[in-house]
Amino acid sequence: MIEAEAGKRADKGFSHLLEELRPDLVRFAYWLARDRAVAEDVVQETLIRAWRAQSDLKDRGAVKSWLFTIARREHARLFERKRLPTVELDELVVAESDELAQQPDGEWHDLRRAIMGLADEYREPLVMQVLGGFTTQEIADQLALTQQAVLTRLFRARNQLRAVYLTSDDVATE
């Protein structure tokens, strides 16, 4: 009985943890997939796998990177399994930009659009680093790249965004 109660409490605690991290997880999946519906699929599968594998998580402090790692794999698996139709980038950017444009904080619209337009090889490590909090070495391990390659990709990603975000005056002062 006592063990069952303890198990229930642990379940509840883990459940709260997942609830707290879900918004970040949805954002992470969204920026990976660039599609809200696909992101929802990824998050669902991630939460199910996380729930079932919660005993594998030894350090609850690492739960965020653990969840994001599962989500990244789920995203890759979903594409592999469903062979989702490829969408022309312009069409995707227009569709998602419309969706983003109706968000209240429209001031980030151009930058979001630029992030969405980044090639996967640049967007993925950037999102892993900024949203997921992964170190460059962790990103390198997950993407099977050298750390130097990750640094280069992050540098290129930010420089592409810099060209969009910064004004010409900013660049001129350089």
Binding site: K12, R22, V150
Partner: protein, 261 residues
């Protein structure tokens, strides 16, 4: 543009190219070797300030609003677990609460099951379509935020949601919420339409057949499930607000069944 020359200082082990790679890759990390370079190179220091500003903006831009979605509810249902809070006890079937009891309790449980099955059959016979309405209501309750949306969903976003279910709508409805939701084993469009008297939820349910138009009242929701070609459409109002019938009639006209495309 005044960049420092490559490795021209014993205090700066980085040249400008290395410094900028380091800044661009990790703007918030300043190892000592980079700090040394920045002290000597105003151009790279300016670049770093720009990149920190950009980093702040990227962080904000990535933080897209997250709508209330079905992800948690659906994942809970499919995994058979991770309910949070007090809902767990409320939603858990009675037999789960008695699992740890003695054998007598098992006998009682078996008798209860027989009774429950009998009652279930009777209820099913009496109200065959009620479970669909109940499932729709349960789903709607899991997406309470959908009622609060007021901005019109762009046609392109709506089309994406509908396309996932192979559905098309004639233009006209003012849709303020559109999600493709997992419902009874498939993705279905979950929409909120702004009617003259307030928001009304519409769920298009391919493969969910109903013999005739069925009204239901599951406080605070009232609505109707109507048969359409290839399935049903459910239209609900909350707290009696919203023109359910008007929205339903509009949808029956606007809905293009697969065969018509």
């Amino acid at each position: 543009m005044t960049e420092s020359t490559t490795n021209n200082s014993s205090a700066s082990a980085y040249d400008c190219q290395q410094a900028r790679l380091c800044i661009g890759a990790e703007p918030t990390v300043v190892p000592e070797v980079l700090a040394n370079h920045l002290r000597d190179c105003e151009s790279c220091a300016a670049y770093q300030r720009q990149m920190l500003r950009l980093e702040h903006a990227i962080t904000r831009a990535l933080a897209v609003p997250v709508a209330q979605t079905m992800a948690m509810d659906e994942a809970r249902r499919r995994s058979g677990g991770f309910e949070s809070g007090d809902n767990l006890a409320a939603r858990r079937p009675p037999e789960r609460a008695t699992q740890a009891r003695v054998p007598f309790a098992r006998l009682a449980l078996a008798a209860s099951l027989v009774l429950a099955v009998t009652i279930g059959i009777l209820l099913w016979a009496a109200r065959p379509d009620q479970s669909l309405a109940a499932d729709v209501v349960a789903h709607i309750e899991g997406e309470a935020a959908s009622w609060r949306s007021t901005a019109t969903v762009p046609d392109s976003a709506l089309a994406l949601v509908l396309r996932k279910s192979g559905i098309e709508l004639a233009p006209g409805a003012v849709v303020s919420y559109a999600q493709s939701c997992w419902f009874r084993g498939k993705f279905v469009p979950h929409l909120v339409v702004q009617s003259a008297r307030g928001p009304v939820t519409v769920m298009i349910l391919p493969g969910e057949y109903s013999a005739a138009r069925e009204r239901f009242d599951e406080a605070p929701y009232t609505g109707v499930i109507a048969p359409v070609q290839g399935g049903s459409v459910a239209v609900l109002a909350r707290d009696g607000v919203g023109d359910v019938d008007a929205v339903l009639e509009n949808f029956l006209v606007a809905l293009k069944p697969p065969a018509a495309r």
